[in-house]
Symmetry: D2
Subunit: 135 residues, 4 copies
Amino acid sequence: MLRFPLLTRYSDYDTKGHVNNAVYLTYFEWARMQAWMSHIVRMGGVSGADVADPPVIVAEARVKYVSPANIGVPLEIELSVKEIRTKGFSFGYRIVDARDDRLIAEGETVQVTYDYEGGRTMPIPPALRKALEAM
Amino acid sequence: MLRFPLLTRYSDYDTKGHVNNAVYLTYFEWARMQAWMSHIVRMGGVSGADVADPPVIVAEARVKYVSPANIGVPLEIELSVKEIRTKGFSFGYRIVDARDDRLIAEGETVQVTYDYEGGRTMPIPPALRKALEAM
Amino acid sequence: MLRFPLLTRYSDYDTKGHVNNAVYLTYFEWARMQAWMSHIVRMGGVSGADVADPPVIVAEARVKYVSPANIGVPLEIELSVKEIRTKGFSFGYRIVDARDDRLIAEGETVQVTYDYEGGRTMPIPPALRKALEAM
Amino acid sequence: MLRFPLLTRYSDYDTKGHVNNAVYLTYFEWARMQAWMSHIVRMGGVSGADVADPPVIVAEARVKYVSPANIGVPLEIELSVKEIRTKGFSFGYRIVDARDDRLIAEGETVQVTYDYEGGRTMPIPPALRKALEAM
């Protein structure tokens, strides 16, 4: 499990002063990129060319909004591997109030490993699988 | 069921030239607002004060990404009522290529009716229920 | 001069219920893309490969916020060519309340014509110049 | 002068792999909020009620795009006070490549001090002026 402080932007907040519902998927994506760069690349989970360009496609996303995130509240995001399958894997996310771990939102994304050159899905490469297992 | 042309913005597209995954929730939200203004308000589904401010909270969202939306592809979005419960309802969404109805993404959001003054959930007001049933 | 209705999104509005200041550049960009597709491409102002990919770089942008755009206010945007130089041109923008033409914001962007293959600025191609002059 | 690391999001990048032009104003705004919270509030530059809600309106913004910010490049942003007038002040911004200080973009925003309750501009409160002078 990885945990990151989440830097919000004023434009993330809606007319009620809460983080807009669509922005949570942007937070999930940001956490994925952080995980990619801070953990998976460092673990050797990808080969050179893929470092900035993960060989995956997001196939599904789900968010459950538990309590609103008001402006000024410091947030943190947790990302964990939920499931590793042959040609894909899923991440789970929890966004919490950094002060007391109150749950703000949780969710999940399903990624499919994809060979962009060949234009088709592919099995998870062994090095990537190993890095995911160590997360 | 309501269907609207979906105007994309250049900033919706990511480095691969596809609509970014988080933006679909923004499209869903835009369709909800259109439905609210073009149908529910007109049907008398809300009283004066709520016209610009639906008495609902989004509790859950889900997206399934079926095929990428490349830049230049004209999109349309369909919104339909999937379920009406005592204190909430869910909308279903389909985003399609306007030229051939190829499915790009589909999803769902669950809304809870909420009394913002009282600070608690509330049963769906009868006029709103009626407007939802006629959608 | 071209004029388009401007479809706002709920996420464009900030905690005060006004269009967020950064979003105006997104509106300007959207108008440029509309101008590109509805006018310049149709006028033959670009050759095949460039149709979805204007050979320009935005070099400068400027916005003046005149009065706030509250949620619910219908907006329109005007785009006009302000200046055509050898290797670039500038567009002017006015965003108005569609009901009474009250000025919400105005601004300008400077574009430089750019040869992406060669990796350098280039003179405005004659067909593009002609299309700009007819705008 | 204040300087902050700038955390970009995948959705900030456009189809060319560069930070989208409109996003720079969001970066400027984020730096303003950081300055507000990390410096001005701490300096006593605002009274209680205004801590989360600066008594200002952005009146103008200007960006000059100097070189593109490719995905993967670490960014930092500098914010400085450029001018303090009776009823407003302007900030200057520089966004640089954190590794070698290469200039990516620079710009400016003009803020007008505004009494939201009274609905009119107001002179800069003395405590805010003092905090700005010490920035």
